[in-house]
Symmetry: none
């Protein structure tokens, strides 16, 4: 499993881990039932504290994406892709709505917003 940590980011390390694992589940790179690296192994690999990894796994379990079995390890939970899709769709919607609201606050016309959106669609 590939996880990239940016220590300089303002985003907490444990959130970075949570997010990247969620993305990998969405993309099918991590499949249901598959084992995650052990807390200690991932901590060693990323050169961070085991507690930080554990906090990430706890978040994932709390959200129902991961199932942790004492003494055995942590595993991708069953059938969460629909849930994840819904969650993600709402986030995209929220992000777009926030951007549009900001643009309106700043005084942009609808035409300007649409133009900017199209430019971004091509660039990104």
């Amino acid at each position: 499993m590939k996880i990239m940590i940016y220590h300089s980011s303002m985003q907490p390390i444990y959130e970075q881990i949570v997010e990247q694992i969620k993305i990998q589940v969405m993309h099918g790179e991590l499949k249901c039932g598959e084992a995650l690296p052990s807390v200690r192994a991932l901590a060693r690999e990323l050169k961070i504290s085991a507690l930080t990894v554990k906090k990430a796994y706890d978040c994932l379990e709390q959200d129902g994406f991961v199932l942790t079995v004492h003494g055995k390890g942590s595993f991708i939970a069953e059938g969460n892709r629909e849930l994840l899709e819904e969650e993600w769709k709402k986030e995209v919607e929220k992000a777009l709505a926030k951007a549009v609201e900001q643009g309106r606050n700043y005084g942009m016309t609808d035409a300007q917003l649409r133009e900017l959106f199209e430019i971004i669609m091509e660039e990104v």
Copy 2:
């Protein structure tokens, strides 16, 4: 000057103040040279710590939107609307780009993104 503080928001109070003052400058409700309330007066009005208001004014001054004259008070700086416009445009662009990137990560097609964008343009 009207400032609304949401203590329950995740956004720091000082940022809420900075943002609302910037919006009021953009909308022309605050004009160049106009005096801002004193740090202590605004703190009393909003029932928050004077240090928090001071931090907000410091941010505004650092960005060049406000000019503080020792012993006299803080005033809206001259000719910042163009600067502000640029800054804001970049923020909207960044917000839109982030939303689009999230959508792509989640696997949305361009058509789906455009549809969602249009829905939001009409709703917001």
Copy 3:
């Protein structure tokens, strides 16, 4: 606020704190909006690590019983008594059902179970 910690208990310290605070909310000893002791203060008082107290407060916030405001402290959340009542009722029901099931497994008759229950009702 009175919290009793039993280091010798098998129950984690943070759970002991969570439980006792929930009980005090139920009994009205802690009222909506009331401030909890700061993480560090309670840690000092109970002579445990601040992280342990924080974990307890995190659990309470996650369940919606407490609202934490950055830089200000943690407070009892509004209107959770009905939620708490429901939660608690289910727990009692579960505990009773488990006890009855155990008794049946062991071969006790309904009469024996009722007799035992009455004895306990008078003793406890």
Copy 4:
């Protein structure tokens, strides 16, 4: 011998084994002197580690319900039914007492507790 393991249960696997063997002794499905499956055989059957089965048998032996003879295997010990009955009775009593205490903590009246108990007696 039939043992059902629930990996998703919060109860340790070795305790699940101990409990189910005790129940089968109580119900007379396992009789005094009868041989238990070998540690390795049961481990293979349940697809768990032999160490886990060993721990379960150790617990049973420590409590005096099972007698392990080196090189021959493990056997149900003689005359433990009375002991088992007593132990079980205490467990049921403890479980009931805990439930009643929880109910009292939550503020339930004796009448409410009795009503709930009767409902559960009929349902379970």
